[in-house]
């Protein structure tokens, strides 16, 4: 027996009631975008002139481009002149105590087991002196510096390491790449730079967690990770806690460069505001993520758990240039309410014996719509390239949607490309079965969903995997029943 839709919505629709308070400090540029705005951004960040020139070239190119409309997501068109492109990073916390924060949000933090000080930082509350993440970050940076690893903000990198930035920034995602990459290249606010020198294994998981109390990186984040020969690094981005954010449009660019025998693992947990029950006010997340396996035997692995945002448009990709290079993409994308996700990957095989693995798990509930869009391209020179794609969709309820758009282009006859896809539903039968064996409905749903996502969670660093499981359980709480 199916449940009445209204009832189903009721339980799936655990609202992420928010009430964003926008109280922006004076040092914010007025809305609008032109060359003066870009000059102002560059100036405020004390950037060298070559950087400004790059931004301007990107902007000029962006003006000639059209916003893409090929994806399966639908949203009102974005008014780029209505956005403010620079906010002072030193914003005053908007709330004085946790009492002022939405209790619903706090209960979510509680369920996720987030320490009280982190809760404050996330919710935009003034943080006690006890919680001094800057000093924590400093300690970490000291350890990293001893190993020779550079881990700093993009603004700092532009000032301190101009040669590295000139060499690598935009070398994987050039500003001409796509509309949102061009926009990002023109106006990016800040981001992260990681450089791991030859032969070094980064002594710790690098995480944006460390930067929780540092300057807000804003809506146009730029990340660059370079791993030199035989080096290894694992980078964790995001946070399981729903993040307060005033910016509706997010257009980040992430570039990874792996030289010979280098290994980069990039994990993301994204849980931004998805909008209210009617889908209003949620974040648009248009991200360009690409890794370049430049060296032979290099290895880049993307793992993502996407549960937030109103619209997600994201295709972390690998260019497998090196011989025997390896690209991996593991993804769980959850859409509920009116959320839409069009996500997937591109694996571009150029090097001989390059291999790629794609495991994509889409979960849709309520009116959520989930699309997998993936391209596997094998160039003529890529002898013996191999790809395996597995693409599974799980539906909860009867008004959600799942789509799969695999694109496969093979120009070398020795290539082996496999694509598997399944679509299944969390059925009332399954839930009854679990409950008849003594499990509560919530445990049953989370068991079925975790079972579905297992291959991806296995790829996450341990603590993150546990958090991701919790996150899924919370976001799909009482999903059916």
């Amino acid at each position: 027996m199916g449940l009445p839709n209204a009832e189903m919505d009721d339980v799936v629709g655990k609202e992420y009631a928010q009430g964003f308070v926008t109280d922006i400090e004076s040092d914010t540029l007025p809305p609008g975008l032109d060359e003066d705005v870009i000059r102002a951004i560059s100036e405020r960040k004390c950037e060298p002139s070559w950087m400004l020139e790059r931004r301007l070239s990107a902007y000029r190119h962006w003006l000639t481009m059209q916003e893409p409309n090929w994806s399966s997501v639908k949203h009102p068109s974005i008014d780029f002149q209505a956005i403010s492109y620079y906010s002072s990073p030193k914003q005053r916390p908007e709330l004085d105590s946790l009492d002022q924060v939405d209790p619903e949000l706090l209960s979510t933090y509680e369920k996720l087991g987030i320490p009280i000080d982190e809760q404050k930082a996330l919710a935009g509350v003034a943080v006690d002196a006890v919680f001094d993440s800057v000093s924590v970050a400093t300690t970490f940076r000291h350890t990293l510096a001893e190993a020779g690893v550079i881990f700093c903000s993009m603004s700092e990198a532009i000032r301190e390491y101009p040669e590295l930035i000139k060499q690598y920034l935009g070398s994987v995602v050039p500003y001409k790449d796509n509309y949102f990459a061009a926009l990002n290249s023109a106006v990016f606010s800040d981001g992260t730079f990681v450089f791991v020198p030859k032969g070094v294994t980064c002594p710790m998981e690098l995480s944006t967690y460390f930067r929780i109390n540092e300057a807000k990186t804003g809506q146009f984040e730029r990340t660059l990770i370079v791993a030199e020969e035989r080096s290894q690094v694992s980078y964790l981005e995001g946070c399981t806690a729903p993040m307060r954010d005033e910016n509706q449009l997010h257009a980040a660019v992430v570039e990874l460069v792996a030289l010979e025998d280098a290994r980069i693992k990039y994990s993301t947990v994204q849980n931004w505001y998805p909008g209210d029950a009617k889908g209003r006010g949620g974040i648009y997340n248009f991200v360009t993520k690409r890794g370049d396996c430049r060296g032979d035997r290099s290895h880049i692995s993307w793992t993502q758990v996407e549960t937030g945002s109103a619209v997600t448009w994201k295709y972390p990709s690998c260019i497998l240039r090196g011989r025997d290079s390896v690209g991996e993409f593991y993804s769980v994308a959850v859409t509920k309410g009116h959320q839409q996700a069009d996500t997937g990957t591109k694996m571009i095989h150029i090097g001989e014996n390059s291999r790629s693995t794609i495991v994509s798990k889409g979960i849709s509930a309520m009116r959520g719509s989930n699309a997998y869009r993936g391209l596997v391209r094998v160039a003529a020179k890529a002898e013996n390239a191999r790809n395996h794609t597995q693409c599974d969709s799980l539906l909860i309820g009867d008004r959600c949607a799942a789509h799969t758009f695999p694109y496969i282009e093979v120009k070398n006859p020795t290539a082996q490309v496999e694509h598997e896809a399944t679509t299944s539903k969390v059925s009332d039968d399954q839930l009854f079965y679990c409950r008849q064996r003594g499990l509560s409905e919530e445990d049953a749903v989370s068991m079925i969903i975790n079972g579905f996502c297992k291959e991806v969670f296995n790829e996450l660093p341990m603590e993150f995997a546990v958090e991701a499981q919790k996150l899924l359980a919370v976001s799909l709480e009482g999903a059916v029943g």
């Binding site: 059925s427 009332d428 008849q436 003594g438 509560s440």
Partner: protein, 250 residues
Amino acid sequence: MLTIKNLTASVDGKEILKGIDLTVRAGEVHAIMGPNGSGKSTLAHILSGRDGYEVTGGEIVYKGQDLLSLETEVRAQAGIFLAMQYPVELPGVNNMTFLRESMNAIRRSRGEDEIDAVSFMKQVRKKAAQVKLDPKLLKRSVNAGFSGGEKKRNEILQMAMLEPYLAILDETDSGLDIDALRTVADGVNLLRSPERSMIVVTHYQRLLEYIEPDRVHVLVGGRIIRSGGKELALELEARGYSWLVEEAAA
């Protein structure tokens, strides 16, 4: 153990059960037989708390409690087990994990400690061997890609592990060949005990050759029209249901 009094129930407004009375004492095995569509599975589902059935009258008392007021999982925790006619597949959920989670949920509800991994493994291996379930299937996802017979054996394994007080077997014999039927019946017989009651719902008498019931009830048109000892099952096998239906109508 279980007392059903004048139970009436309907599905989508259509009356299926029209006044069932049944008493099952501890240690007894009752068989419920009847033609297709007589309400046998409905009764099994209502006992286990499946949604979609409207109980319009009567009561069910299980171990002194009003069964109808309990949630499905609470009934399971209280010792009611339904071996399903069509066991459900749970892709990605490891069979052993499922079994252990389920055992632990039941244990926790009774204030007992969770079972430790070593004793669990020992038990599950031993009991899987008893029902001749290929140990490889323990490592697979619950019922996913299992044959019909394997699914039924898996049900009996779960039953053996969960040790219910009231086990309801809904058409467990359907779709089984004679060897599988015998194995499943052996598994069930191993579980017979003075503390455990069973309700065996079946269409054919065949299963009752292996699982010997204390009482046999014939359910036709939503009513129990005849109850008797195990010889009733044999009579039904020889004469079919129609004579009983006619007698009841007369």
